[in-house]
């Protein structure tokens, strides 16, 4: 028991001890030095991971904390952690503009929900065709879907803007719905294709032998099986639509303004409105944070277009 000194043993002497393992340490109750070394290393690496997590989370925590301070307390240097908490920033934020941020939040919700619904309606049958009943050259089709994601949206924005201006669709939320649908459709097709590929073909054949038509097969047989996958796809489409700013900035104005565009109003806000800016950022990020935390596991698969399982 006395032999392995409790003092932190440097790595050098521990190595030979590990090499002479078969000889056995004197005390059975004391873990093998190599085991203890590995444990210590694990603890250290665990602490390092915690440190990294805290460093990355710090700005988010800081944003939240600042949003809960009064403007005077928010704008101090060095920062005051002990300042009293208040919802003043949030009240100020919701009092911005004539109707507050509500119209823009409603527009964002509309654009995100409707485009996500449209994406799912278009992508589900397409993914079905691509995964369960492969058409000829179906991989080329799949790659075409993906390739549209690789073209910079900025290069097609001007004609869309001119089209919208000439048809009176400028500042119309349905135009955003349409564009967000096309923006998310490739991702959705790819994700769903990878989920559907796991549905056993025999199941579908059986349903078809029973006389089920395609809508029934899709709705009654396949959809329940890939439900979680569909939910994940929907969440990711929702997140991307909610976050989008360039289209919304160029194509909407007052009535169809989305939440990110509303946020751009704070870009030049100087000095006294830090708590309000932070409150705005928290409120507008909240739906995405909630959706993202809920779909953590599926997030990677979705964002890597179904390529990573």
């Amino acid at each position: 028991m006395t032999a392995p000194a409790p003092a932190p043993v440097p790595a050098a002497p521990a190595a030979p001890a590990a090499a002479s393992a078969p000889a056995g340490p004197p005390g059975r109750t004391v873990p093998h030095p190599a085991v203890r070394r590995a444990r210590r290393r694990n603890t250290a690496l665990g602490m390092l991971a915690w440190l990294a997590g805290i460093v990355f989370f710090l700005p988010v925590a800081w944003m939240t904390l600042t949003s809960l301070h009064s403007e005077a307390d928010a704008a101090t240097n060095p920062p005051s952690l002990a300042a009293p908490l208040t919802l003043e920033g949030y009240r100020e934020f919701f009092a911005t503009g004539a109707a507050g941020p509500w119209p823009s939040l409603a527009n964002s919700a509309m654009a995100s929900v409707f485009s996500t619904a449209a994406v799912l309606l278009l992508a589900f049958p397409a993914a079905y065709a691509l995964s369960l009943r492969p058409v000829r050259k179906w991989r080329d089709v799949l790659f075409f879907f993906l390739s549209t994601k690789m073209l910079p949206v900025i290069a097609g924005l001007l004609p869309v803007y001119l089209f919208a201006r000439n048809t009176g669709l400028l500042d119309n939320i349905w135009l955003l719905v349409l564009l967000y649908t096309s923006m998310n459709l490739p991702i959705a097709v790819w994700m769903m294709q990878s989920f559907l590929a796991e549905v056993p073909a025999a199941l579908i054949e059986a349903a078809q032998l029973d006389g089920a038509r395609l809508p029934t097969v899709l709705g009654r047989v396949i959809a329940p099986l890939v439900g979680p996958g569909i939910a994940a796809t929907a969440l990711i489409c929702f997140i991307f639509s909610w976050n989008e700013m360039l289209f919304a900035r160029v194509l909407t104005g007052v009535t169809a303004q989305t939440a990110p565009v509303f946020l751009t109003g704070f870009i030049t806000s100087q000095g006294l409105f830090l708590a309000k800016v932070c409150a705005a950022s928290v409120v507008i990020s909240l739906p995405v944070l909630a959706a993202g935390f809920a779909a953590q596991d599926k997030l990677v698969q979705g964002l890597s277009l179904g390529a990573v399982k």
């Binding site: 997590g53 704008a75 349905w174 096309s182 976050n243």
Partner: protein, 325 residues
């Protein structure tokens, strides 16, 4: 359901065919169409909404079109392309785009690799740490940019200078350095905020890669006396290669197009204007439609070059998965 959708998308561009007609078993041709039919709505819609605008951009790019000059739209051939290629502002935005993309993707990939390796082992509170690490990726990009601009980088009351002042106070420095981050180092400041947002994404992809790695080979290698570094270098890293490529590829696709941070943090000033910002500015603020379109076409050409490489990567990822079917 389909009817509801068409109602939801006003322009007539995409009126997808309804559910496929039932194919009589007799006709092979009809059956082939029935097989394809579920694919068509999505395909037609996507071609209409993404490819037509690009075609229009191509068309506009050969005109000299200054929107504020009413009669001023005339065919100029390829001269817009010459102007774009010789315009120092546009050329510098190409350089900025490349520098920003490469530095952000590399830095977030390396950091993400380190974090993925840390999170691949079990320790107390791993779930909490993972959730904390994902948070930056889930903040709305404009909100993230505002957070960095106002709450972190602000020279007077931002967290960074506040922390420097606090540290200075601890060590008895009366006059600690208080840089104006966005003016003193604009591009690194933009890059840092993007690295913060994208590292979690890289970590998630690489973590998925690490967790899909076969453990037996590593065990066998360890029994044969391989050290941690050797296992990492000769087993883990080769296994991760495709995941690293995928992360780099997807990161590039998104960062090349990134607009929000540049728009919010610096409004394209101080040498931070990337191509999306410059094109946005050229048509939305400067009203040079022809020039903006030519620049857009050049961006597409550049992207196609990346995409060709990218599709090969994805194709290799994909081929294993489907080789059986």
């Amino acid at each position: 359901m389909t009817g509801q959708l068409t109602a939801a998308s006003p322009p007539p561009a995409a009126s997808p065919p309804r559910a496929p007609a039932r194919a009589p078993a007799a006709s092979g041709r009809l059956r082939a169409w029935a097989t394809r039919a579920p694919l068509l709505p999505a395909l037609v819609f996507l071609i209409a909404v993404t490819q037509l605008p690009f075609a229009a951009t191509l068309f506009i790019s050969v005109f000299d079109w200054y929107a504020l000059d009413p009669g001023g739209r005339e065919f100029t051939g390829l001269s817009n392309y010459g102007t774009v290629l010789s315009d120092p502002r546009l050329r510098s935005s190409v350089v900025t785009t490349v520098v920003l993309t490469v530095s952000v993707v590399l830095a977030s990939l390396l950091l993400g690799l380190g974090l993925a390796l840390l999170l691949d082992r079990s320790f107390r509170g791993r779930g909490v740490v993972r959730t904390m690490l994902i948070a930056p990726f889930l903040i709305v990009p404009v909100a993230a940019a505002l957070l960095w601009k106002h709450a972190l980088y602000n020279p007077e009351y931002g967290l960074f200078n506040g922390a420097l002042a606090w540290l200075g106070g601890l060590f008895g420095v009366d006059d600690p350095v208080q840089p104006d981050w966005l003016s003193d180092m604009p591009l690194p400041a933009v890059a840092a905020s993007l690295v913060w947002q994208w590292t979690p994404f890289m970590m998630l992809i690489l973590l998925a890669g690490l967790q899909s790695r076969p453990l037996e080979t590593a065990e066998a290698a360890r029994l044969d006396g391989a050290g941690s570094w050797q296992v990492f270098r000769y087993l883990t890293l080769p296994h991760l290669r495709r995941y690293l490529e995928l992360g780099a590829l997807l990161g590039s696709i998104y960062i090349v197009q990134h607009f929000d941070a540049v728009f919010t943090l610096t409004a394209g000033s101080l040498g931070t204007a990337n191509l999306p910002y410059t094109i946005y500015h050229t048509f939305y603020k400067a009203h040079e439609y022809g020039l903006a379109s030519a620049a857009g076409v050049l961006v597409v050409i550049g992207s196609i070059a990346i995409a060709v490489f990218a599709l090969r990567v994805v194709s290799s990822l994909f081929s294993e998965e489907v080789s059986g079917s």
